[in-house]
Symmetry: C2
Subunit: 157 residues, 2 copies
Amino acid sequence: MDEPLHPDVAELGFLIGTWRGRGTGVYPTIEPFTYEEEITIRPASGKPFLVYEQRTRRPATGEPLHAEVGYFRAVGGPTVELVVAQPTGIAEVHTGTVRDATVHLRSVEVARTPTAKEVTSVERTLVVEDATLRYELHMGAVGQPHQLHLKAVLHRA
Amino acid sequence: MDEPLHPDVAELGFLIGTWRGRGTGVYPTIEPFTYEEEITIRPASGKPFLVYEQRTRRPATGEPLHAEVGYFRAVGGPTVELVVAQPTGIAEVHTGTVRDATVHLRSVEVARTPTAKEVTSVERTLVVEDATLRYELHMGAVGQPHQLHLKAVLHRA
């Protein structure tokens, strides 16, 4: 937290921190699952974006599951953008809004390497209240309609 | 380097490390510039990818310039994929090959947030020889044809 905060990202400041918690995943094509998660969101040398890093583990074994990295961009007023890279070969590019400590983002494009799974739409909602971050991720993928995939509750570490 | 290396990424092992050096940027729409750069490429808990982080600074002042994060994916044989997120609102998804300590990647898709610059094609070549990493980045952007944009020489830290 030593890095100065760019004035444009002040509205996203409530996201900054290290967050730990648990989530659940569902989708018609898979068995439901639970995961442990750590999210870090931090400013970047006075630039108008926040750096985002995430990883999840299997609760019983600690085995790494998903990971992603990217940037939250403040682009003026309540408009927010998100760029995310995933080791599964997928990159998401979102646009959305921030209001009342709630960020709502919808994918503009989901880019895929030739070997990646077919993901066609992603929608992410993050809400911070006191020291708790809750998010939901909806996804359209592998021929299935856009629907709830992930839901998690994390606490500021 | 405590993390075990997934056998599929063994062929990319020559990229692993922290690399520091200098580069030059050119493009018809901008003044030529130089930059200092640090690249870190590291394994990820035995998973079949490498984590990639990069940032550049203005040599005279140390002011942060570009940054990007992403993943090199080993997907079988000499085939390599790269997923990169940039705080400029751009995500690149590449496919390519690794051969003789040379990785050659071409963008399959370049995804952009609504406020990002128009980047249409990116090509990245990385060559490691002894403790030196050289790369070139070609780019088609803002109406200009695909051409050399960045060239850098870095040394293993």
